[in-house]
Symmetry: C2
Subunit: 326 residues, 2 copies
């Protein structure tokens, strides 16, 4: 990481900008990516903040700004290592500014890259929603797990196009994103049936399909909110087709494959005041092997395991120097 | 039910005695059976309670007492229809007093039957603990689900006999019996690893065996706290042997097979203030098919599916008239 030259107050400011992304336990990866765009936009203005010390005289504003953006990219990836769009976004922004020499040029190229990334995300979401529409049988129950903005937009889009169906979802302890999902869907005119996670076996068998979001896609499988593996195993047992809905920006390279395992939250979020002798685990992510998925619904169609290899090859290439793992 | 002759105040008193059993969401079936013995002992003294109106003059105390006991048995079964020992206990008490003509004779026979039932439960638990001891590999992790006094006594017994192992358990939302389990085990000197229910897939694979309690055993499978089906499916997927621990008093006849499905709790216990348009389900029990179990550990040894038929045949016979379903 080439941010050794940043003052500690600028580093602290960047950490502060990334903090709300770390604490966002309720949003899916695509929604967090949209929030990260705002973080970059704020980071681009750090130098204008009079309360921060200016760069040392021998360093140009342009060099400093590049370091700020590299540090921002690293900070965002660090706080949510499982959420692949943050890595993709960082890479795109840093590649876009690489050859720029002026502060103004960097700001322009960075903003262009962010806008392009946002447009791509939105276009992908629209295509995925069109494909998912055909997977929702009229009058049926659809199971949806955790909170994925991609899944939500697919369901709301289908309802808006006049398809009638109901959604079954569970809580997704301990952060209860399932309640956020239920609230969002019901305010969009979709009837919801809700229960706790361990009651999955009592409701899933009545569903005609199950949808899950994606945090990142690795060669070993799809990473998503903990509980997704359980859902996938139950879907196979009950013969309910399971689709993971995701833009291809969520593929990550092999060297980041198990980064998501770092993301453990405090045990006290699960059991405040657990007795001595009880170790409380609060891991956030599950790995779902591709063989447990019926298909991966992307902007390029419904992909099966055999279709995925080119995406992994592509994602290995072209990682910006500042984001390579040491 | 032959309790038409009971005054409404006596009926109300019996309902009140059974109420704590209804609201006990944290105890397993064997533990609830022990509490139910106290309910019968209190019911035997209802006539001595001066605040209650006495029986009409043409009815003898003996007839009234038989009706009180029949009503108590029905009330206990009604509040916990999945918990088979309550049915077995009611049947044993009513059979024991059937031929008695005096109040004193009824009280004596009922107390003898209750004591015998309690002794049988305790002897069964001790035998089951001996068998389970050999299923706990030294130094390994054992998964235990929900709260079963049979499972707890097996684990504490093994620890007291000097076997060292750790236990992994999950919350068992929404009543969180898993926390009661963790607390009980850790105070008995067993280290516990605890997490939420949907994280089962992250911890179960490290366990050498899984133990579950039983509420009742039907021809269709074992009924236990919701989440048990998920556990059983995950155990098969991860090749972890799963044992259900239960005395044979938990076999029930075919006519009560699906009584447990009646036992739905208020949705507000899952999500207080859920938005309009969200139906919240709070079912309490899962049915685990025998094919998903490695074995049923009883006082008669570890039974496989093929061994079970005689138990179902026996349980069909000899149900007291007052407890037959209409």
């Amino acid at each position: 990481m080439q941010s050794g030259g940043l003052s500690s107050s600028i580093k602290a400011k960047i950490t502060e900008l990334a903090a709300p992304i770390k604490d966002d336990l309720l949003s899916g990866a695509a929604e967090i990516a949209l929030r990260a765009i705002t973080v970059y936009q704020t980071a681009l203005k750090i130098q204008e903040d009079a309360s921060l010390p200016l760069s040392a005289s021998e360093r140009t504003d342009a060099v400093l700004l590049k370091e700020i953006l590299a540090q921002t990219a690293s900070a965002l990836i660090d706080v949510q290592p499982a959420m692949a769009p943050l890595t993709a976004m960082g890479n795109i922004v840093l590649q876009a500014i690489d050859l720029e020499q002026s502060k103004e040029g960097i700001i322009e190229k960075a903003n262009q890259a962010l806008t392009r990334f946002e447009s791509t995300l939105c276009a992908s979401a629209a295509t995925i929603a069109d494909i998912a529409y055909d997977l929702i049988d009229p009058g049926e129950l659809i199971f949806a797990y955790s909170f994925s903005s991609t899944v939500v937009s697919c369901l709301l889009n289908a309802r808006a196009r006049g398809r009638y169906f109901r959604v079954v979802c569970t809580e997704a302890r301990p952060s209860m994103e399932g309640r956020k999902l239920a609230s969002r869907l019901t305010s969009g005119g979709i009837e919801v049936i809700h229960t706790f996670d361990s009651a999955l076996g009592l409701v899933l068998g009545n569903c005609s399909a199950a949808f899950m979001g994606v945090d990142c896609i690795t060669r070993a499988g799809v990473v998503n909110k903990v509980g997704s593996w359980m859902l996938a195993v139950a879907c196979r047992e009950l013969k309910v087709p399971l689709y993971a809905l995701s833009g291809t920006e969520k593929f990550i390279s092999d060297d980041r494959m198990f980064d998501f395992e770092k993301h453990e939250r405090p045990g006290s979020e699960v059991w405040e005041g657990a007795p001595k002798g009880v170790a409380v685990l609060n891991h956030q992510f599950d790995l779902v092997p591709f063989e447990l998925l019926t298909g991966l619904v992307t902007e390029n169609g419904i992909l099966k395991e055999k279709d995925l290899e080119p995406y992994f090859s592509d994602s290995n290439a072209g990682v910006h120097q500042a984001l390579k793992l040491s």
